[in-house]
């Protein structure tokens, strides 16, 4: 027997006294429409089938995060960098990286020293 088989539910139950035991993906609060909206923001073209798969999976993960969501942390500062540093900068001295040709050679499409893309419909948001 491989060690650990079937132990995930127990593991979860032990770790999260506030959350109910994990017993596999399920339909939850996250709607299919929300998932489709997020896919558009992330520029992923999910098939109907993928939406059906992802929706309960993402819902389960978010449900697992519900205990974090439920914490009252109003007075706790956020940590965005684990090792606190400040004022890191470099001198304003130019240097030629010399990579132009190597990069343009590998571009999916290039023209006149520029990256070529299909028509761009609409302005930058």
């Amino acid at each position: 027997m491989p060690a650990g088989d079937g132990s995930e539910a127990a593991l979860l139950a032990a770790r999260r006294p506030l959350a109910r035991p994990y017993d596999g993906p399920r339909m939850a609060s996250l709607s299919r429409d929300e998932v489709a909206h997020v896919a558009r923001l992330a520029r992923l073209q999910l098939s109907e089938e993928q939406l059906d798969t992802f929706t309960p999976q993402l819902a389960a993960i978010l449900e697992h995060a519900a205990d974090v969501e439920a914490l009252d942390l109003a007075d706790v500062p956020a940590t965005s960098h684990p090792y606190p540093l400040k004022n890191v900068w470099r001198p304003d001295v130019p240097r030629d990286a010399g990579i132009r040709e190597a990069v343009l050679d590998q571009a999916p499409d290039a023209e006149a020293g520029m990256f070529r893309v299909p028509p761009v419909l609409g302005e930058a948001p």
């Binding site: 909206h37 558009r40 923001l41 520029r43 965005s80 960098h81 606190p84 540093l85 400040k86 004022n87 890191v88 900068w89 470099r90 001198p91 304003d92 001295v93 130019p94 240097r95 030629d96 990286a97 990579i99 132009r100 990069v103 343009l104 023209e111 006149a112 020293g113 520029m114 990256f115 070529r116 893309v117 299909p118 028509p119 761009v120 419909l121 609409g122 302005e123 930058a124 948001p125």
Partner: protein, 481 residues
């Protein structure tokens, strides 16, 4: 402050807030060592970082921080602890597909800008961010919607910008123009940017909304990328009227981004605000916070030049009150020091400012010495030069740098002293006794009419060398004697 003239229909008002993007005058980009320069071969100034290659990381340009803080202090902002944030959106001019900017913790906050007219415009924030690359649309006449494809040049990507966001404190397009002109002069004076609107190193977006007086402000629209003061003024006025027309017709104003077409003189829809505006800002984990010390801020303050508002105040103080327009122009042309020194040397302030405003809007004016300007004005005051002669003499001073007295002499502007003028005027009166009698006994209207007659005769007799003002005063004095 009196109410601004808006040019809007009776009962309507507009409010304007401006966002000004300004490229910082650094040698390198904001987060990499590529040159910050304009007009090079496409993609010549690129590296892994500003192309967003996998694995690359940003390292902040110290000079860009210094310049941004200088802008902040020049605008009386609090310069504070700041944090970079990622603004996420897909667009091909954005090599990392996020823009590094600042969000809830900008470098500069809560400042103001005092305009020559006396209006104080609040500065909400002035934050640091990176510029995008440049897209060229090929085919379809270069218009985005008809193009066959587009080309991307990332030379501009990562160029350091400050975005200066004003409070919505302006009530007319004139005030908006005044604000941008004043801001530009500060950016130039502090050496922060070359601030060329036409070349895009200074770009203005205007947020405009309108209301019927007494009602709340309506939905605002943003007009993007105005690249001259003229466009700024016209676009704002047009946009305000467009919104009023909509509201008058019972329609609503949609929140949207619009562009200004200088040729047609209209604004058009660029983009309606939509869910793609969910930028998912979060603190940029690849950069650490900026925390200027009190000492850093003192050092920046100490290095700031005297700003236009203070220069205006100094000159106005020396010149007396009713000269606000001319004082502003003197500062704008960088002639305020010249004017101030000439006044200090004893020249009549009004005449000095008149010359600065009307006769020194020329190349090389800064080279005129204060001593020469003072001497010229004093000759004029003593009646040794007419206004016309003084102007011609000043032009020679600018061109040659010679002494004004020598120039006047060489031009044959012989001094017509007070005695000579009186002799000449007496001669003209004696030659025209009928007209003189009418002038002497007539009312103001008649005097006004005959002044022209006598002045013509005086000028004729003096071959144009008489001082018109002095001659008129003499005539009036003799009539009432």
């Amino acid at each position: 402050m009196s109410a601004a003239a808006t040019g809007l229909p009776e009962g309507w008002g507009m409010v304007i807030g401006l966002e000004v993007h300004c490229e910082l005058a650094t040698e390198t980009k904001l987060f990499c060592c590529c040159p910050n320069s304009f007009g090079d071969q496409p993609n010549a100034n690129t590296c892994p970082t500003c192309l967003g290659l996998p694995g690359s990381l940003p390292v902040l340009n110290e000079r860009a921080v210094e310049l941004a803080m200088r802008v902040g202090r020049a605008l009386a902002c609090d310069v504070r602890r700041s944090v970079f944030a990622r603004k996420n959106y897909f667009y091909p001019d954005q090599p990392k597909v996020y823009q590094v900017s600042q969000y809830d913790l900008p470098t500069n906050e809560h400042g103001h800008l005092d305009l020559p007219s006396g209006l104080r415009v609040g500065i909400t924030r002035a934050h640091i961010e990176e510029d995008t690359g440049k897209l060229t649309h090929v085919g379809g006449g270069g218009r985005i919607h008809d193009a066959s494809h587009s080309l991307v040049d990332y030379n501009r990507a990562g160029v350091p910008l400050v975005e200066i966001v004003s409070e919505a404190d302006m009530r007319s397009s004139d005030q908006a123009r005044e604000y941008v002109a004043e801001l530009r002069s500060i950016l130039l004076a502090t050496g922060v940017s070359d601030a060329k609107m036409e070349e895009g190193s200074m770009r203005v977006d205007a947020n405009v909304s309108v209301h019927r007086e007494g009602e709340p402000w309506g939905t605002r629209c943003e007009i993007k990328n105005l690249n001259s003061l003229r466009s700024l003024g016209r676009a704002i006025d047009h946009e305000a009227l467009r919104q009023i027309d909509l509201l008058d017709a019972g329609d609503t104003v949609r929140q949207e981004t619009r562009h200004w077409d200088e040729a047609s003189g209209r604004t058009g829809t660029l983009r309606v605000k939509e869910d793609a505006d969910d930028y998912r800002y979060f603190p940029e984990p690849d950069l650490v916070p900026l925390e200027p010390s009190a000492e850093d801020i003192r050092r920046i303050d100490a290095a700031l030049p005297v700003l236009p508002a203070a220069r205006r105040a100094a000159l106005a103080g020396a010149a007396g009150a009713p000269t606000i327009g001319a004082v502003a122009i003197a500062v704008e042309r960088d002639l305020d020091t010249l004017a101030l020194e000439a006044i200090t040397a004893g020249a009549d302030p009004a005449r000095v400012l008149t010359h600065v405003e009307h006769n020194l809007a020329v190349e090389g004016a800064q080279r005129v010495s204060a001593a020469h300007l003072a001497a010229l004005v004093q000759m004029e005051t003593r009646g040794e030069l007419t206004a016309t002669q003084a102007k011609a003499t000043l032009a020679e001073v600018v061109a040659t740098g010679d002494d004004p007295a020598a120039i006047a002499k060489a031009k044959g502007y012989e001094a017509m002293g007070a005695d000579a003028l009186e002799t000449l005027v007496d001669g003209v009166i004696a030659a025209h006794p009928g007209e003189w009698e009418q002038f002497r006994t007539g009312d103001d209207k008649a005097k006004g009419k005959l002044t022209g007659f006598f002045m013509g005769k005086v000028m004729q007799a003096s071959k144009g060398q008489a001082d018109g003002k002095a001659a008129t005063a003499l005539l009036r004095a003799k009539a009432s004697a």
